[in-house]
Amino acid sequence: MTATGGAAAAGSGLMAADVSRETVTGGLKAASGGRDTVIIGLEVHCQLNTASKLFCGCSTDYRSDPPNTHVCPTCMGLPGSLPAMNRRAVEYALRVAKALNCRVAEEAEFARKNYFYPDLPKGFQITMYNRPLAEGGYLDIEGNEGEKRVRITRIHLEEDPGRLVHMGTPDRPRYTLVDYNRSGIPLIEIVTEPDLRSPKEARRLLNGLRTTLEYLGVFDGDREGALRVDANISIPGSERVEVKNISSYKGVEKALTFEIARQKGVIRRGQKVQRETRHFVEARGVTTSARSKEQEHDYRYFTEPDLRPLQVRDWVEGIALPELPAARRERFMAQYGISPEHARTLCGELRLAEFFEEMAPCGNPLLAATWVADTLQGELNYREMEIGKVPPSHFRELLEILCRKELTDTAAVEVLRRMLDQCLKGGEVQSPAQIMEKNMLGKTAGDAFTNVVREVIAECGDAVRDYRAGRGEALNFLVGQVMKRTRGRADPKELTRILRDELARQGT
């Protein structure tokens, strides 16, 4: 929410350069709407998961508690209260700065951003203005055309305002309640240069940031309201528009896609895109123009006199970072021999990577990678389920059974589905062995199928004749028939051998 320090002003020089380049290479096409280029910069606000608030001792774990129960004179802005720095929050922010390859300032300083809003108890927000924690970093993401480096303009620390709860309906508002539980939660604002070229890239940047912050142990992306994004979007040759109020990962892609279509429509109709601030209305998936009054802020920044400057350069040197996503990807490929695609998927989410590392010793890391990255992920997505809900011991048991070849792939998927459904329901979750036994999903010894094999041979005379006539594919048909009747419990390879033997025996 920085007025002039954000992607807006900080990146404006670069944006001008981009625009002129577009004019040289494809200005006419851009003007006629024939090109897909858009220029996007983001301001990302993330709540740091410290135990206490930024300037007081109140707990940050407020989400399941009634309103105004995690408050004190300081975070309610009572007259006479003073802010006292939570050093852990600074440390967390410095971890982020280091991980995003930023230049950390010698000395950072808090400033007051003055504006009236009912969620802001002091009438100003304590933030950083012209002396942020860090500047000039980058994060590599998977871009539209391969690996891409997105530059980070700056990172600073600030306090979250309270939360407003509007009563009544949008048409007939009655009154608004204020909850100060959120007031004073530490936020970092990460501002990117206007380096993004599509909504998808913006989404990937957010995913990349989220992953990095989670690896650093400073952020919990699942908490409601933990992430908020403002986006600056322009089409080369046109004015820039700021879209505020985006509060989810999907929302970013939706808001940007809508806004680009809107801007292109404006240009197509021969009108000019207005330089303005718009709000994203998540429920309707649209952006609406903010009232002009809200854009005319003069924040009257000045140094916060109640806090001393932070000596952060020396501080950051003493901070050791954990293994970050890129390093972990490299290690997974080297240590487990898994594919780059699997490594990317697994490391793209901290809990997934950790889950995989618990599974890898099952006997076959490659098999574990496939099952975690592809099969399990697919089943989880289908159920909109979190990996955290999967009991690792059960999943590992399933993989071990698979490694011992006591279960076919098809049957294993069946076991997994039943297990996940039980997890979703809550209550008791059976182990894979129990599920197999109860549903007779275990691989059955070859002889048990002999009867079914004989049945199929007796009933499918045409296929048998074709097989004897030398058409190999007829055997596949017969295998399929047996599989169908045994509900996938048979190992296809073994089944082929039994079928062949039986046909040979009957043929003589």
Partner: protein, 431 residues
């Protein structure tokens, strides 16, 4: 709790008379302390002399209130003051002016005028005041008592309703240097809740021995606007210090020229931000909720802030606004740095600076009608706030029957030395 009980408080020294009992016996047992009404007291209304805070009862005690109650002090009430500390006479109170015990038709000085009047009239043995640009020293001088503005960072501001955070300090006021020193000793205990505080408690050393002490006399302290009779009285007082063995050094403080402007730009800028929270929603008289919120807030602030507060909010808002920020706020910080450097340079050669606290004696209530002449009265006190250095005002006789204050300023964190020199003077005059 009571307000406006004229028979018990004829000088209007208190906004609220309330007996807040001690929590434990200690060094202040048996002593009554009056507390300025901008210092938060749990369960007792704290208005800052403003109608906009009438009815506001803090749910917590300021650090200094905790400290004095834990040392046995009995708090006798909350003292009258210029609204939010904005004034030099206590005439800008939302609850009527305080009257000077030496002459009830005259002002007490301000903004801690109620505290000074309570002590000078014997209603309290000691008092807590606050000093943003002279608000302890000015009323101490006008009422004939001792008042110390401590080094910035020596007393916790936790619980002090902010007017200008970078300038103000809570400090002790009493009839004698020894009492003032004792109260200072109690309130200087470290508090991690104030990030600008340093853990350097005040350790009194009142032996009255100032032999060999170098005392600088800046020519500017006796410059234009200083009443010649006051100047004369103060020079005689400085002569007493010389008689006690101090060495006097004539010197200059050229940054004084810009000090007053730098002070007013800085304090009004900070005030414009600090006072933004008073919109009627959480404290004081409620707004008309049927109106759009911008309008409702505006109405409350128009009605319940006094004219001087509104003036300072407007000046401060202007000084910080885009396009003027560098010209006013930015320049004020440069001038402030010059003041700091002037003190640092002077204190390489001398141990203390001496001069009058106020350019005049107390004026008649209503006698200064334009705000500018009131601002000019602060010229000798604001430099110490800009630089954060300690300064005491000690009574040094009278002019036309009205008290005059001798101001002694020292190096940062040498409040002990400043108080010892004041003690030497006080004892020297008695002898």
């Amino acid at each position: 709790m009571a307000r406006g009980e004229t028979h018990r408080d004829p000088l209007n020294a208190f906004i609220t008379l309330a007996e807040i009992p001690p929590r434990a016996p200690g060094r202040l047992s048996g002593i009554t302390v009056a507390v300025k009404d901008n210092i938060s007291t749990r369960g007792v209304e704290t208005t800052c002399g403003s109608r906009i805070l009438s009815g506001y009862v803090p749910p917590y005690d300021a650090h200094v209130v905790d400290l004095i109650r834990n040392e046995g002090a009995l708090i006798s009430g909350k003292t009258n003051m210029d609204e939010f500390g904005m004034g030099s006479s206590t005439e800008n109170s939302g609850f009527g002016p305080a009257h000077n015990p030496r002459d009830p038709e005259r002002v007490t000085g301000g903004s801690s005028g109620g505290s000074a009047a309570a002590v000078a009239s014997g209603m309290a043995r000691m008092a807590l005041g606050t000093d943003t640009g002279g608000s302890i020293r000015c009323p101490a001088a006008f009422c004939g008592i001792v008042g110390l503005k401590p080094t910035y960072g020596r007393v916790s501001r936790y619980g002090l309703v902010a007017y200008a955070n970078s300038l103000e300090q809570i400090g002790p006021m009493a009839a004698s240097v020894a009492d003032c020193s004792l109260l200072m000793e109690v309130i200087s205990r470290y508090d991690p809740r104030d990030s600008t505080m340093q853990d350097r408690p005040y350790l009194p050393r009142l032996d009255g021995d100032i032999r060999g002490m170098q005392i600088g006399i800046p020519a500017e302290f006796f410059g234009r606007g200083v009443d010649p009779a006051v100047a004369d009285r103060v020079r005689k007082a400085i002569g007493v210090l010389e008689g006690l063995g101090a060495v006097l050094v004539e010197c200059a403080m050229p940054s004084m020229e810009y000090a007053l402007a730098a002070y007013y730009v800085t304090c009004t800028s900070e005030a414009s931000s600090n006072l933004a929270r008073f919109d009627g929603v959480r404290y004081g008289p409620a707004p008309d909720y049927r109106k759009p919120w911008h309008e409702a807030f505006q109405e409350v602030r128009m009605q319940h802030f006094g004219p001087e507060v509104r003036r300072r909010i407007l000046i401060g808002t202007f000084a910080l606004s885009a396009g003027y920020h560098g010209k006013y706020y930015g320049k004020a910080q440069v001038a402030r740095q010059h003041v700091r450097e002037d003190y640092a340079r002077l204190f390489r050669d001398v141990d203390l600076l001496a001069g009058p606290t106020m350019p005049t004696v107390a004026w008649k209530i209503g006698g200064k009608s334009d705000p500018l002449s009131m601002y000019l009265a602060d010229i000798l006190t604001v430099p110490a706030n800009l630089a954060g250095v300690p300064a005491v005002s000690v009574p040094c006789g009278t002019v036309r029957g009205l008290p005059v204050g001798l101001q002694l300023t020292g190096r940062p964190f040498e409040d002990e030395q400043v108080m010892n020199a004041a003690f030497a003077y006080e004892q020297g005059v008695k002898a």
